[in-house]
Amino acid sequence: MKTKLIFTFFFSTLSLFCLSQNKQTDTVKTEKAKWKYEPNFMVGFDLLNAGVSFFSDRKVYQGFISSRVKGDIHAVAEAGFESNVYKKNSYDGKASGPFVKLGAFYMLAKDSDNPFNGFYAGGKLAGSFYTQEYMAVPVRGFGGSNSSVAFPSSTQSSFWLEGVLGGRVQLFESNFYIDVNLQPKYLAYTTKQDDIQPMIVPGFGKSSSKFTMGFAWNIAYKF
């Protein structure tokens, strides 16, 4: 919960920052009729989740590469690694593995001076290939007669759809940007061990429900 508060705090200060920038719009550049892809890359690393990893069982390291394809459309690829444990409701499980996401987003509102500054929304397809081990899956009984069943370590994969809503802002006049985004996720498909619904999926989060919300606070460098 604390991480979420920190995140919202950052985001609220950022949105103020961006709003003030957007007020300066006077000149509107006309887009060229002929489009040519100019190589441009932005590489970012999620600092907030990496920082939180030091204090929690959930360890997430993720980064992204994005490129402006045409006009306001940017392509984005993300990759990361997560390891997590689930100890709740008599469950005891752990999962760890890499995940990848591919998608695109559209700049909804941008700074006229810098097309990389602004708010964006988009979507991604994501997949995770991970190792899980459930040391205890509960058998619920009566009168204090509870027991559990253990399952051996196995390799599973999950796939989900992810929306992205975020903002990107240039740090002063440097090539560094702060990129903050929210990721509503919907679990589309997962392989199962003995029909057991996985409780945690790396990159997706707690997966006992199909819907989760992720966030990232990135420092990015534009080449």
Partner: protein, 158 residues
């Protein structure tokens, strides 16, 4: 600016939804089924209604009183879910009255149900042994496996 409003609204809604349920609740009926016990009159073999019945079960750490039920013609008794091959069930007609002990032995099978319920146990090859013939005089077998709570698994003859 219209975009911005939509954007911020989605953001707020997103935060609201993201706080939603992680704790799955196990709804009754989905978990491990209980054993159904019905009653018969020993002299006639016909079903009978009991004025009162006290049940206690040993779940591995001593007797647990499941309390009294009145005017019943059947009763559901939860069995052990650990790896023990039997459950001891105690029946008596009055609080201070004589007690019959029934040892119900079985084999179990584990099936995964849902995130909330976890795993449920089904009981197979049910077999009951009576050790004290007062107040229960005899036992009669019913359906010898427990997959749901519909059919009677054991008849007690009084």
């Amino acid at each position: 600016m219209k975009y911005l409003k939509i954007f911020l609204l989605t953001l707020i809604l997103g935060l609201v939804f993201s706080c939603g349920g992680d704790d799955d609740i196990c709804e009754s009926g989905e978990g491990t089924p209980r054993m159904k016990v019905s009653f018969k009159r020993e002299s006639t073999g016909l079903p009978r209604t009991l004025d009162s019945l006290y049940v206690a079960v040993d779940y591995g750490s001593g007797k647990v009183q499941l309390g009294k039920q009145t005017n019943i013609n059947s009763r559901l008794i939860p069995l052990r879910v650990d790896d023990a091959p039997y459950t001891d069930v105690y029946f008596r007609l009055s609080d201070k009255g004589a007690e019959s002990k029934v040892r119900v032995s079985y084999t179990t099978k584990s099936t995964y149900v849902s995130p909330g319920c976890g795993i449920k146990k089904n009981y197979e090859n049910l077999d009951a042994q009576l050790t004290n013939t007062n107040p229960v005089v005899k036992l009669e077998a019913g359906q010898n496996f427990i997959e749901n709570e519909d059919k009677t698994n054991l008849y007690l003859l009084f």
